[in-house]
Symmetry: C2
Subunit: 573 residues, 2 copies
């Protein structure tokens, strides 16, 4: 629904004034439309486009150098009047004749035709090009009944570039007719739009469904299907269009994936990712494509794919520079083929330890990480359930994902012969990269701080373990700002650190000191069920977590126990 | 709701790949983000921005010359990982130090802080700028608790321009901190958004209400009000922001009116029209403002206004050229003050008749038009009711509006001393301009064709009236494609034309011939109740019009009777 409206009958005019204020370097308003602020050369063919309002950037946004000389804006979804077209075409005329460009709708055809006749009577040579790109609106045998939709953009852009290049009226018209004849669109709608001032949608698409070929003003479509995956939708759009490839058309095309208003950029990019392989597999080279909002229909949800088959001349004009609100590009002289980018990444390089002891230490750390990963994967559902009481239930998933990545990275470092510091740092970074969320960042930073206490040429000893553990806690405290009692992982980490240090002071072995500390950590983690969270997102749902322990503390204690078990085994071996 | 999604967990990555395919001349994807395709000069300060996905064009769309060197994209609404930030900042580093720019959200602060520390440890001088422009998110006394929203765009754009200009890291940081300190945003939400893969909205705003200061992820707002007029909304946005003008700030500002996704361009332009007088009345000069979608939140409905107070240096960097997906502008060297454009129009110039007879004829025509206007204004509700059975009920309104404009134009032409052809042509053009719809275009074209039969130096005679009437009918037939029996105005027009011609042939006076023809026209108009429409929009609602006459035929017959009455009176005088 239109939420910012005012008097509905002034909506289109008010929008035009606001638009012209923002883009005053490009357009100048006249009653009923806009003309270029800096007109083209005398004698140039003038392109005047237009149609109903409510489709921004069509049509006012198409005005500018290398595109239209003027645009005529009717009321919302209504053709501009004959008089408005006349007035603005007279203003735009540079002595080289006028091309009137508009979509093939009855009201527009009527008004632009009357205006063309009047202009000719006034001695202005005037040609009309009505776009007919929407293949869903009539069969191929009745092309002149087809509506014009997003094909407006490539067709008018190409005409505008041809006019800017100084071609004669006959030549520009011929280029325009060819561009229109080689342009096809096919669209789907997910939901209708609401006219300014109205409370009800002008038309609907049932929830969970999509309408094939539904017009941007609600004109009847050709079929209705369930919502589908991007790959399936891409296949439908591409197959329908490619089946109607113009005869003798070459293998170079451009594509426009257009959003109608509420279907957002990210969705269009996701769909584009699925479209490009279809076009490439069909043998096409896609030149300088577009994905975005180029002709909308208020807040309608839906999108369309437009293909224009390019010959050498059409490609030249498609690539020509343009400076309008809708599209601003420099000359595209280079290689503008679209294809799916490959996400390259430099492979990790791990330093090799110079000593056998160091390499042994690295293997110990890696073995720990593998154990942690196995234990956290097993505990994932249980941790998720605990987390759901206070957070969004993804703690188990994040921990399992982080630990798995850490174990994998640690093994890779071990294979490179790294020592314990390098192995743990690699594991820490992988954990931070994959776990996600606050706890992922804290675990990654904590483990990395831990790694700085190790010596790559030695097996970690009691001293370095104790120092590492403390450094990890200090880092997590500094970053997380949590203290003991805040119902966070700190409630389990502090008893672990202090227990381990205390055990060592009592002369315990590493395994014994750690095992006792892990037990204290576990008790403390369970005791968090009597606390209320005081920090972060969980705070707002604090009440809900009453009587349940903190998932972060529980997973911390679990890791402490796993390590205790591993230390005991390693000591035995 | 997100309708094009696929696997929700891959949504952000897939969108990133699609985006990079479309904008491959500007960006190159790396895992977790994008870097510039053509990197800046060695030694330049590198700006790395980032945050959660779902806010396009933030943040990937901010990458390009004169703006950011790289962007890091987290999952939807989630901070990017420390590792992703690290990886991409290393890639973007040009040896001049790195600025990390992000909105002030806990997750982003955590990850960017850890990354900054790691980068510094690697010898890369790194500074952090967290935007804090959202004045609704915390009181002015706690500025460091404020969230970053659409202020990201001006702040990062200014930083990017300063870096591109070759300023040192210290200098760029200082410019950035000043830009952030001088930037304020205030937003309203009309409805929430839906996360990819979810069926329910993440948060709601009650229907017919707006939430002041609601965050783009649904963070709590400060108040809720009924939907209001654009002028009221503009007042709230401007008043809140201007109250917080930075101390010692000058009178030059820039403004960004940002749409969140479903609040469309036309609505933003309508609101902008209401905003600009507020800023100007407060004594501000607004430099190169923007209105559009610069940071969205999936399909959320709402908008925000951002003001940046400009000193000389900030203005220079705001005006500097930029080439990114979100914003592409050349150097703005001229006068880019925003103001509301005035819609100028050349005043109509009407030719004066050379004879008294011609001027008398002009007055006759004008008098007719005034009568028609009065009659159609009176008949407006009745015509509207008839039209509602088949059309959208606006026929009466269009006819009344068209006739009133025609009468006014005719009087102006009479005042200039014009003859009947000029007066009727002026009336015809005004009718076409103001009536709207198909009938407005047809009436305008018909009356204009009628006017060509008159001689500007003579009072219209039987001959010219008969010829004009036929020309009008032929024109309307050619344009409207309707025949008698199609349930259109043709059903009333044809009996009028043929009746008038027949009466003249029988030797009747003009008044008598027209009066009898008007009676025939009226009977025929009423008889259209037994017809079904065969053309145009009405066809689809044909069944609904059963038993009701056609509004176009009824209004045509009404006009015929009014003219008959006027002709009889004039003949008497």
């Amino acid at each position: 629904m239109t939420k910012i409206c005012g008097d509905a009958e002034n909506f289109a005019t008010s929008a035009l004034r606001g638009f012209a204020s923002i883009y005053r370097d490009i357009v100048q308003p006249v009653r009923g439309g806009v003309v270029r602020t800096t007109p083209g050369k005398r004698g140039k063919v003038a392109l005047v486009v237009g149609g109903g309002s409510g489709h921004f950037p069509a049509f006012n946004g198409y005005v500018g150098e290398g595109f239209a000389d003027a645009a005529v804006a009717g009321d919302v979804f209504a053709s501009p009047s004959t008089q408005a077209i006349l007035r603005i075409a007279r203003e735009a005329n540079l002595g080289g004749g006028v091309i009137l460009g508009y979509g093939n709708y009855a009201g527009d055809v009527l008004n632009f035709s009357i205006a063309a006749e009047r202009l000719r009577a006034e001695g202005i040579d005037t040609r009309m090009i009505a776009t007919t790109d929407d293949i869903a609106s009539a069969p191929a045998s009745e092309e002149n009944r087809r509506r014009g939709t997003a094909g407006d953009l490539p067709v008018f852009k190409i005409i505008g570039a041809a006019a800017e290049a100084g071609l004669s009226l006959d030549e520009v018209e011929a280029v325009g007719r060819r561009a229109n004849a080689q342009t096809r669109s096919f669209g789907v709608a997910f939901d209708g739009c609401t006219l300014p001032g109205e409370r009800e949608k002008l038309f609907h698409v049932p929830k969970g469904r999509l309408a094939l070929g539904l017009g941007v003003h609600g004109e009847q479509g050709i079929d209705e299907l369930d919502l589908m995956r991007p790959s399936e939708l891409a296949a439908i759009l591409c197959d329908r269009l490619l089946k109607e490839a113009p005869a003798n058309a070459g293998s170079r095309i451009t594509a426009l994936l257009n959003g109608l208003g509420s279907t957002k950029y990210e969705e269009l990019f996701v769909l584009w990712e699925a479209i490009i392989p279809h076009l490439e597999n069909a043998g096409y080279t896609v030149i300088a494509p577009l994905a975005g909002e180029y002709i909308t229909s208020l807040d309608m949800a839906g999108c369309s794919l437009t293909l224009t088959w390019l010959d050498e001349e059409l490609e030249k004009f498609w690539r020509a520079p343009v400076n309008s609100a809708a599209l601003k590009r420099d000359e595209m002289a280079g290689d503008y083929r679209a294809s799916l980018p490959v996400l390259t990444e430099a492979p990790a390089v791990y330093m090799k330890s110079l000593t056998e002891a160091g390499r042994k230490g690295g293997r110990c750390v890696s073995s720990m990480m593998t154990r942690l990963s196995a234990a956290l994967t097993e505990a994932e559902p249980a941790l998720g359930q605990i987390d759901a009481h206070a957070g969004d239930g993804d703690h188990g998933q994040g921990m399992a994902r982080g630990a798995a990545a850490a174990a994998k990275a640690a093994r890779a470092a071990v294979e490179a012969g790294s020592g314990p510091s390098t192995v743990l740092a690699a594991a820490a970074d992988a954990w931070a990269d994959r776990a996600g969320g606050t706890s992922g960042a804290l675990w990654g930073a904590g483990l990395f701080a831990f790694s700085t206490a190790f010596d790559d040429s030695a097996v970690p000893d009691a001293q370095s373990l104790s120092l590492g553990l403390r450094r990890a806690m200090e880092k997590i405290t500094a970053l997380g700002k949590a203290k003991k009692g805040d119902k966070t992982l700190m409630d389990a980490l502090e008893p672990l650190v202090e227990g381990f240090e205390g055990g060592l002071r009592k002369g315990y072995s590493i395994a014994k000191a750690w095992t006792e500390a892990a037990e204290a950590s576990t008790l403390a983690a369970e005791a968090t069920k009597d606390l209320l969270p005081r920090l972060g997102r969980a705070r707002t749902h604090g009440e809900r977590s009453k009587g349940h322990p903190d998932a972060g503390a529980i997973s911390m204690a679990l890791c402490a126990r796993v390590i205790a078990h591993e230390l005991s085994e390693q000591a035995v071996k």
